[in-house]
């Protein structure tokens, strides 16, 4: 079994799940410190990304899950 491919599969599915469940988490991990986090929303709260960006992150998350499942199948020799 190729353990690197298996690791890619597990981490890919994990990251994809995070992106689907909490898209704002990855967005903030990239934007905080680059732009003021409180610039986009109401005062005293984190700016909420708009629904289009949220959807895009979820689509990327779904793609990561699918890619992870593919690499999982490759790692165990099913493909």
């Amino acid at each position: 079994m190729d353990y690197r491919t298996l690791l890619a599969a597990v981490l890919g599915v994990g990251l994809g799940a995070v992106l689907i469940a909490a898209p704002e988490a990855i967005l903030r991990a990239h934007t905080v410190g680059r732009v003021p986090g409180d610039r986009g929303g109401e005062y005293g709260s984190d700016g909420e990304p708009n629904e289009g960006i949220r959807r895009l992150v979820r689509v990327v998350g779904a793609a990561l899950v699918l890619a992870g499942l593919y690499f999982g199948a490759v790692a165990v020799g099913a493909v």
């Binding site: 491919t5 981490l11 988490a25 991990a29 680059r34 409180d38 610039r39 005062y43 984190d46």
Partner: protein, 274 residues
């Protein structure tokens, strides 16, 4: 203003970030044969560019313009008095139409900028605006913006190095490229977890400094309450998809909460009044 609890927290988080950075620097030196001075200069340049571009982009993205002193005499007077009280130079003061009541600070001590929205000035009373201004000035006085840029810079550097380390140790197969991207993102998120945690605490500290500068936390608490209530009303009355989405996801839980830069509004109000 001195904050022993913030200093202690910064020591812990700073050590963790330094450890991440040190590992990344050693890996970069080992993998690319780069001398230490090049790694250090490259890191400083990377963070410096992020700081400059971030400040410029933040002001430009909301279309902020300088707040005319003649038209907003009272606010300028408040900012001057608060800046003196906090021991900082009066920052550049700007106004913008943001669509919501908001204010933010960018820059550093001595070269700071505070932007307030016209909607904020229209929503709040003069003393509540003073509370908000004091909070933003406290961010500049405490170098919070610089700390966040530094934290993001370290997270990005560590993530890039992790990504390259995975790539260079692989067999150039498609799975290696995939693994490198995923590891880079996960490392970025891991490092930012610590940065976000300290950011939330820094909000409490800025609230406390604002309360100290104006003599009470009540006005800022009232301002937060008023904005929060206005937000809730907007959520109840509007029916479009965008607002519905905010209602579903607005209350942050779990992971989203771990990645929040601000503590929950009700906790801040409670602390300001305690």
């Amino acid at each position: 203003m001195r904050h022993p609890s913030l200093t202690a927290r910064m020591a812990v988080v700073g050590s963790i970030l330094f450890a991440f950075y040190a590992v990344a620097a050693v890996v970069a030196m080992g993998a690319f044969g780069a001398p230490l001075w090049l790694v250090l200069v490259g890191s400083v340049l990377f963070v410096g560019v992020q700081y400059k571009v971030g400040k410029w982009a933040a002001i430009r993205s909301v279309g902020a313009e300088d707040m005319p002193e003649g038209q907003y005499q009272e606010i300028h007077r408040q900012v001057e008095a608060l800046s003196e009280e906090m021991g900082i130079d009066k920052p550049r003061f700007m106004i913008a139409r943001m669509g919501v009541p908001n204010a933010f600070a960018v820059g550093r001590k001595g070269a700071g900028t505070v932007v307030v929205s016209r909607e904020l000035l229209a929503t709040l009373d003069a003393d509540e605006v003073e509370g908000v201004l004091a909070h933003e000035l406290a961010h500049i006085a405490n170098r919070d913006v610089v700390m966040m840029v530094l934290g993001q810079g370290i997270a990005s550097i560590v993530a890039i190095v992790a990504q390259w380390a995975v790539l260079l140790t692989g067999d150039n197969e498609i799975a290696d490229f995939f693994l490198a991207i995923v590891v880079g993102q996960l490392v970025q998120m891991l490092v930012m977890l610590f940065v976000m945690a300290i950011s939330r605490y820094r909000e409490y500290v800025a609230d406390s400094d604002a309360a100290g500068a104006i003599g009470s936390g009540e006005t800022l608490a009232r301002a937060l309450e008023k904005i929060s209530r206005g937000n809730e009303r907007a959520g109840e009355s509007a029916v479009d998809e965008q607002v519905n989405a905010l209602c579903i996801f607005g209350e942050e839980r779990g992971l989203a909460r771990l990645f929040a830069t601000h503590p929950p509004m009700e906790k801040r109000i409670e602390r300001l009044r305690s």
